[in-house]
Amino acid sequence: MLVEINVNGEPKSADVPPETTLLKMLREDLGLTGAKLGCDVGDCGTCTVIVDGVSVNSCLMMAARANGSNVTTIEGLANANELHPLQEKFEEHGALQCGFCGPGMLISAKSLLDRNPEPTVFEVRDALAGNLCRCTGYTKIIEAVMDAGREMRSGQSGA
């Protein structure tokens, strides 16, 4: 079936079998391999993308259900010239080690800051509860999100 979505501001479409998940369509039909296939049951969060303004597990969303939606993936964070402040802060804080959880962590963090530009540490932890990291632990990730929030509020980055 034909599924048309707007991904990172660009209209895209693919003819996929009806049982295709949004994650599979993004990775295999649209070549956007930033969102990762982890647990494939909605526990690990590395497949997280934003659909019409809210973060979802793309492994649990059927592609057909996303038809007509606006989707933001990790590929939509940076532009050609600069990284998103969240990405800069993750780098600065060493918040990623193997990096496999990174796309989901960054999308969940972006989704939080889009809704709540000045979160508490508790709110950051709550927002990232659906994203598992098995390397660094969560402290540096949380610090990076708090720091990115501060930077975005101060407007220094121009993001």
Binding site: E19, G42, L60, R65, S108, G130
Partner: protein, 288 residues
């Protein structure tokens, strides 16, 4: 995932007709947080997905003369951000916040959670203490029932294969009722409840009026602790009375031993959590 047909009906009536036509080979798709996992790992004989998640009839949160209506396809994320829910049914909002994580709450619907009908469904106790009713729609039209009657057993509801859960109603007199919800899981995030409990009550001249206690993950379906409620009704609240009521509630449950916790541990949780939600509800009632 094996090959499936995927149909997006234009109305609830069209969805019911499709389910009726395809029988048990068809399955309605809501948020998909349970169903899509099942389709990957134990698909049964499902061949046709009927995507009801976008049906307008099943959306919306409204306050009317009857009470508060929540469409079955409203997500937990929507409930948590809805000003009417935050004001009128805060413990349903609190229970919603304990479901899964942000991403699953943004996909998962309150109706899907009730239809999946696991004993630990977090929204169930919070809705049951508010005397929630559900509307079911099928080939013979709509029928309405107390939410307790909707649950039949683990993963089994009263729904016929051609029927869909349309909406959930909280009666007007229960809106803003002093209430409390508590859940204990093995982690703070993304955890199934070992036990979840809700209470609602009022104080009338210092005596407990119309107490409600509901518990999840302690029996084949979420249950009301009717004996404990009857014990409390009309009495003056004391710490001893609350503990006695909590102990009565324990006798009304049948918790299981499994890899998450022993039945004995669950019984202790039931007593403590029931004490906690009753005490908190009384505090809220006393502040009024």
């Amino acid at each position: 995932m094996r090959a499936l047909d995927y149909i997006v009906p234009e109305s609830a009536a069209a969805a019911v007709a499709l389910l009726n036509e395809h029988g048990e080979t068809a399955c309605p798709l809501a948020g998909g947080t349970d169903l899509v996992v099942d389709l990957k790992h134990s698909p049964g004989n499902v061949q046709v997905l009927v995507d009801v998640s976008g049906l307008e009839e099943f959306h919306g949160i409204e306050e009317t003369e009857r009470g508060l209506r929540i469409g079955s396809m409203v997500t937990y994320g929507e409930i948590m951000e809805n000003p009417i829910c935050i004001e009128k049914i805060p413990e349903v909002v609190a229970a919603s916040h304990t479901v899964g994580a942000v991403q699953t709450r943004n996909l998962g619907t309150i109706g899907g959670n009730l239809v999946t009908c696991v004993p630990s469904a977090d929204s169930a106790p919070a809705l049951m203490v508010l005397d929630a009713e559900v509307t079911v729609t099928g080939t013979d039209g709509d029928r309405c029932m107390p939410i307790e009657d909707f649950f039949v057993g683990p993963r089994k509801t009263i729904l016929e294969p051609h029927e869909l859960l349309a909406d959930i109603w909280i009666p007007k007199k229960m809106l803003g009722k002093p209430s409390s919800f508590s859940k204990f899981g093995l982690r703070k995030g993304q955890a199934l409840a070992l036990v979840n409990v809700a209470a609602a009550l009022e104080l009338d001249k210092g005596k407990i009026l119309e107490p409600r206690i509901a518990l999840g993950a302690v029996a084949p379906t979420p249950i009301r602790a009717l004996k404990a409620e009857a014990f409390l009704a009309g009495k003056k609240p004391t710490a001893e009375l609350i503990d006695e009521a909590a102990q009565i509630a324990v006798t009304e449950t049948k918790p299981i031993d499994d890899f998450r916790a022993s039945a004995n541990y669950r019984r202790q949780l039931i007593r403590r959590l029931t004490q906690r939600v009753l005490t908190r509800s009384l505090e809220i009632a006393a502040e009024r």
